[in-house]
């Protein structure tokens, strides 16, 4: 009884599916999907080599500090970093007094309460505080940015495919809209308040080019602050903000693997030892 019913159900499913495939194929041939500007002009991120790449990658702390400087002097005007605390900066090589100074001198103060009156107030940041948001709330952020919301950057390199390379390419990818694009897709002209960037998913990003001139940031370590250099440094910094335990993970992984390789080898020898004298390899 099961088999005839099964065959019947099977024929039903197969018929519906093949019919659907046929309908799909006919409509695909008769009305092929129209090409879109996004599809033809979107670019994948350029390759980016960072010290933290690869299974044994380590952070280049000098670069992370430069990247932090770019975040502090450029990005932090609009972008929050609210998963990261000032105290975490010891992880990129700042000392405790330096962290304390960075926190207390941060341009934005931390929301607080006046201890006398209970009125809302602000106070200087402490190392234990997370980086304060540049805007009081989403409405304020949108109002200041042509109705676009600058996303939090804490996890940006993990929230995009090929995150660090994406950020580097995006920051250096601003350009004039290609004439070829406009010729082919006259309706796709970049709108007012938007900026053409082929690395952005829909090609038109609300963020104006943030890194525009060499020397926009003056590096303490004497590195020449080209736009490309600043973009690389801030990408490296954002790898750290997204995955501050990366080095710890790589180190632990190597130790665990060495242990497991030895243990598994011993396990294999034990297995061979136990089974010696018992023929068990099947002919099949």
């Amino acid at each position: 009884m099961v088999r005839p019913l099964g065959i019947l159900a099977g024929v039903g499913f197969v018929a519906i599916l093949l019919f659907s495939a046929l309908v799909g194929a006919i409509s695909f041939i008769s009305e092929p999907p129209a090409p879109t500007a996004e599809h033809e002009f979107h670019k994948h991120p350029k390759e980016l080599h960072l010290a933290s790449n690869g299974p044994l990658g380590r952070f280049d702390r000098q670069q992370l500090q430069r990247g932090f400087q770019v975040y502090k002097e450029v990005c932090s005007a609009c972008h929050s970093l609210h998963q990261v605390a000032f105290r975490d900066l010891t992880g990129i090589g700042f000392t405790d007094p330096e962290v304390k100074a960075i926190a207390s001198q941060w341009a934005i103060e931390v929301p607080s309460v006046n201890p006398e009156t209970g009125e809302p107030a602000t106070r200087k940041a402490l190392p234990a505080d997370k980086f304060p948001d540049p805007y009081a709330n989403e409405v304020a952020a949108r109002a200041a940015n042509n109705n676009a919301l600058p996303p939090d950057l804490s996890l940006m390199t993990k929230a995009r495919h090929d995150g660090a390379a994406y950020i580097h390419s995006l920051l250096t990818g601003y350009q004039e809209q290609p004439a070829e694009l406009l010729k082919k897709f006259p309706d796709s002209k970049t709108g007012v308040g938007l900026h053409y960037n082929p690395y952005f998913a829909n090609l038109n990003i609300a963020m104006p080019p943030p890194l525009v001139a060499e020397g926009q940031v003056t590096y303490a370590d004497g590195t020449k602050a080209t736009v490309d250099q600043m973009a690389q440094d801030v990408a490296a910094f954002l790898v750290w903000t997204a995955e501050p335990k990366l080095e710890n993970r790589h180190r632990t992984g190597v130790a665990v693997l060495i242990f497991l390789l030895i243990a598994t080898t011993l396990g294999f020898l034990a297995y061979r030892n136990v089974w010696s004298g018992v023929k068990h390899g099947s002919r099949t």
């Binding site: 099961v2 088999r3 099964g6 065959i7 159900a9 099977g10 024929v11 499913f13 197969v14 519906i16 599916l17 093949l18 019919f19 659907s20 495939a21 309908v23 799909g24 194929a25 695909f28 999907p33 299974p55 998963q83 975490d88 996303p151 804490s154 996890l155 993990k158 929230a159 995009r160 495919h161 995150g163 998913a201 997204a242 501050p244 335990k245 710890n248 993970r249 790589h250 632990t252 992984g253 190597v254 665990v256 693997l257 497991l260 390789l261 243990a263 598994t264 396990g267 294999f268 034990a270 297995y271 136990v274 089974w275 018992v278 023929k279 068990h280 390899g281 099947s282 002919r283 099949t284």
Partner: protein, 426 residues
């Protein structure tokens, strides 16, 4: 229940004897996974995956319990509490990555375990109950994994929850009501997050319970083996301990090495970047995809694009997706070929490998955007999936000329020629 030549538990240690006389738990363990369980001597490495699935469940439960100590199941803070685990909890990153990748490892070994069962006919009499309980475990795993993926409350968590509960919304008349009831609201929110957390904590223990039944049912006929010929005498078996404990120990080492490579060096490779964006009900991701282990079923769901006789395509897709798993419950009766092992079924073997490739294609299409040519490919692949189980296997059982079986496991191992060629299967 066991073979008459199974070793009997004789405690040497007076304490163990004292315990065993009052509560025969040591005896139970001895007979279940100790020297008291005789196992065919010719099992190959594909028989390692049952134990490995058990190991994966233990890893999930241990890491999960500790994660639950730090996680806050509330829509306002869930996302940040996961980041708190990643940043501020001692070894929290290890726990979370182990739990997330442990789920993937669990599914990898369970899929290999299922395909081993499919190839060697492990679902056939007298082991139907083992197969059925295994499918129950698989369904519970899918529910648990789905709800677990919702907990970090990222974009894919939210939209995944919305799409999957939306499947119940396709049921005629009562669908939308059922969806609201499941979610505790009109869209995934705090009510859904809290109940998913509660159930995500409960179901693994239900799985553990069904695993006990799965092993119990297995021990009635004993383990199957690559020849598919039943055990005939003591020379065909070895005691589970030390023979298979040693082999499973080695297997566990290999499992942990692969797990570690994933966990320590590519912990986000199998995840989706969008889940590092906090859930936002007002912003739909460009492509909503579930975790990779659901991709083949997701492809079947999306393969139905045309309404048939007034039945909406969405409902057909939901029926087919659940049907693709439900039909496995009937497999022991759909495939009634008396020969178990695919090694002695030349035609079956070819169709089996087509099925493996077919499921991989479905998986690829399920992870791809819902556009041509992926939809067309998944339609053809889904058609083969149903045809394989519902049409090809029942017919094959009638039509196939099977190869002669060895007389016994021992004969097969020692290469003794067949004393008498066995009759064709039908």
């Amino acid at each position: 229940m066991s073979f008459p030549w199974a070793k009997h538990y004789e405690p040497q240690n007076p304490l163990m004897k004292w315990v065993d006389d009052r509560l025969p738990l040591p005896r139970l363990v001895y007979n279940a996974v100790g020297a008291g369980y005789p196992v065919p001597r010719n099992l190959n490495y594909f028989w390692n995956f049952g134990v490995l699935a058990g190991l994966a469940l233990v890893i999930q439960i241990v890491t999960g319990i500790v994660l639950a100590m730090h996680f806050a199941a509330n829509g306002l803070v869930a996302f940040n509490s996961v980041e708190h685990i990643m940043r501020d909890v001692n070894q929290g990153w290890l726990l979370r990555y182990a739990h997330a990748n442990g789920a993937s490892m669990f599914f990898i070994v369970v899929y290999l375990h299922i395909f081993r069962g499919l190839f060697y006919g492990s679902y056939k009499a007298p082991r139907e109950m083992v197969w059925l309980l295994g499918l129950v475990i698989f369904l519970l795993m899918m529910a648990t994994a789905f709800m677990g993926y919702v907990l970090p409350w990222g974009q894919m968590s939210f939209w995944g929850a919305k799409v999957i509960t939306g499947l119940f919304g396709a049921i005629p008349l009562v669908g939308p009501t059922i969806q609201e009831w499941l979610l505790g609201g009109f869209a995934p929110d705090n009510a859904a997050l809290n109940r998913f957390f509660s159930l995500h904590y409960l179901l693994p223990f239900v799985i553990a319970g069904v695993i006990i039944l799965h092993i119990w049912a297995l021990h009635i006929p004993g383990s199957s083996n690559p020849t598919g010929v039943e055990v005939k005498g003591p020379q065909d078996t070895v005691p589970f301990h030390p023979y298979y404990t040693a082999k499973d120990g080695f297997g566990a080492g290999v499992f942990l090495i692969i797990f570690s490579l994933l966990l320590f060096f590519a912990p986000n490779a199998l995840g989706h970047p969008d889940n590092y964006i906090p859930a936002n009900p007002l912003s739909t991701p460009a492509h909503i995809v579930p975790e990779w282990y659901f991709w083949p079923f997701y492809a079947i769901l999306r393969a139905f694009t045309v309404d048939i006789f007034g039945i909406p395509a969405k409902l057909l897709g939901v029926i087919a997706m659940f049907g693709s798993i439900i039909l496995l419950f009937f497999l022991p009766w759909l495939d009634n070929s008396p020969v178990r092992s695919g090694n002695y079924r030349p035609r079956f073997k070819q169709f089996f490998w087509i099925l493996v490739i077919d499921v991989l294609i479905l998986g690829y299409c399920g992870g791809a955007p819902a556009a041509e040519p992926y939809v067309m490919i998944s339609q053809i692949a889904a058609a083969y999936y149903f045809a394989h189980f519902l049409i090809i296997l029942p017919l094959l059982a009638k039509l196939e000329r099977t190869l002669p079986l060895p007389n016994s496991i021992t004969d097969s191992v020692l290469g003794t020629p067949n004393a008498a060629p066995s009759a064709p299967a039908h």
